[in-house]
């Protein structure tokens, strides 16, 4: 397996610091639920970055990785829906909770096709939301144009999350070594896009 390099560690540390900064400044005008959701997003990025620095890429062997990589788009999408489409908060929250539980249950009880299907649905919907919502909001002028960067980050995390999730599900889209080579840079880019998007939006 590819060993973690100094450059990887620097990129992951930068990711962690950016995530920590975003947690501290928070998202302006967000309700408690939205703020909590955004905190979970950046908290997972921060802790995951630190654990990768400490434990190396072997940490990705844990079965928890699938759940964690789903938690980021799910919590971010909850935050966005709650902040900008408050009327859909409850239904989307129910979808997110049920989706997360379904991923956990299928991962441990019925691994195989069912687990991959559930993963595709939950990842797909939450990924699509975090990619498209910020761009649509920026284009419509509801937010400043810079908020579209959150969508760019959403696109990047969608790619990263899918690569990791399918690798863990035993159906890799790219080889493990290629995924591990691009992962630290991808994490930094998407975190930077999120932070910049929230700052400019």
């Amino acid at each position: 397996m590819k060993q973690i390099s100094i450059l990887d560690r620097i990129l992951l540390l930068a990711t962690g610091l950016l995530a920590a900064y975003q947690i501290i400044v928070g998202v302006e005008g967000a309700s408690t639920l939205a703020q909590t959701s955004f905190t979970i997003t950046f908290g997972v990025l921060l802790v995951a970055g630190l654990l990768l620095i400490i434990l190396g890429f072997e940490a990705l062997d844990s079965p928890v990785v699938v759940i964690v990589s789903t938690l980021i788009p799910l919590s971010l999408s909850i935050g966005l829906v709650t902040k900008y489409f408050a009327e859909f908060t409850i239904p989307y929250l129910i979808f997110a909770i049920v989706g997360l539980l379904a991923i956990i249950i299928t991962r441990y009880k019925t691994p195989g096709k069912a687990a991959v299907m559930v993963l595709m649905v939950v990842h797909g919907i939450s990924g699509l939301l975090i990619f498209s919502l910020p761009i649509v909001l920026a284009l419509r002028g509801v937010t400043n144009g810079g908020f579209a960067l959150v969508g760019v980050g959403g696109g990047l995390i969608g790619i990263g999350g899918m690569l990791l999730s399918f690798l863990k599900a035993g159906k890799p889209i790219l080889s493990r070594d290629i995924i591990l080579t691009v992962l630290p840079g991808l994490l930094l880019l998407m975190t930077a896009a999120f932070v910049a998007g929230f700052a400019l939006g």
Binding site: A20, I23, I24, V25, G26, Q35, T39, F42, G43, L46, V47, L50, L51, I54, L55, E58, A59, S62, V64
Partner: protein, 284 residues
Amino acid sequence: MEKLKAKVRLYWPLIKSLQTALLLTTGLAGYMSARCPVTTIPTMLGLGISLFLSISGSTILNMWYDRDIDAKMGRTAKRPLPAGLLTPKEALTAGLLLALIGVGIAAAMDAIFGLIIFAGLFFDVVVYTIWLKRKTAWSIVWGGISGGMPILAGRALGTGTIDLIGIALMLAILFWIPTHILTFSIRYHTDYRKAGVPTFPSTYGFQFTRGVIAISSVLAALAMGGAGLGIGMAWGYLRLMAVLSAGLLVLAIATMVNPSERVNFGLFKYASLYMLGSMLLVTL
């Protein structure tokens, strides 16, 4: 000059520089938690020097007393004392001298500050190392209390009294120390057994030890959060502290549910990062 350098190279491992630096950081954080955003540079210097000397002195005295068990453990056998690079008399003299100067400076700066520093030294060397370490696994409680003294001392120097926030900060360190020490004693349990030092893994088994680590992680996080609230930390910093605490808790639970050497080592390393991060947040 070369002779002096060679001596320093021999004495340096005796003070466990990383551990000393971490404890020194907690002391400075305790002081800054009371004085932020304005701190007095001369007082900070005095605090730093007195803490560095007394913590180093205390560590050297521990090394001096434990040289026989250090010689039995692979991890510590190459330390200067068991390896015969320094004589016990040299180490004892250095330890006493540093501790005396450190406590002396502290007492001259402030009576309460000096008293707490002395208490830390006494609990660590006399109660923990000399009296209890070879008798009971619970000796780490006293190790934890002495580890909590620098932050309490720093806070007391800043406020002029022992307040609830100082006690909460001390408790946070006290509960954090088992996470740090017990993961270490799991990693090196055969070494400790060989040396005849009772530890939680050898006395109560691994699963119980992991349970203690998880509980102490929760308590450390609660105490740190309570201290943060008491200090009046901004919500953003409290959120970050909660995230770091959640990471500590998740890792502690992971060591119980899916125990492995890697997760155990990860928790050990993360616990140090957690403490450094928390201290940084306290000072901000």
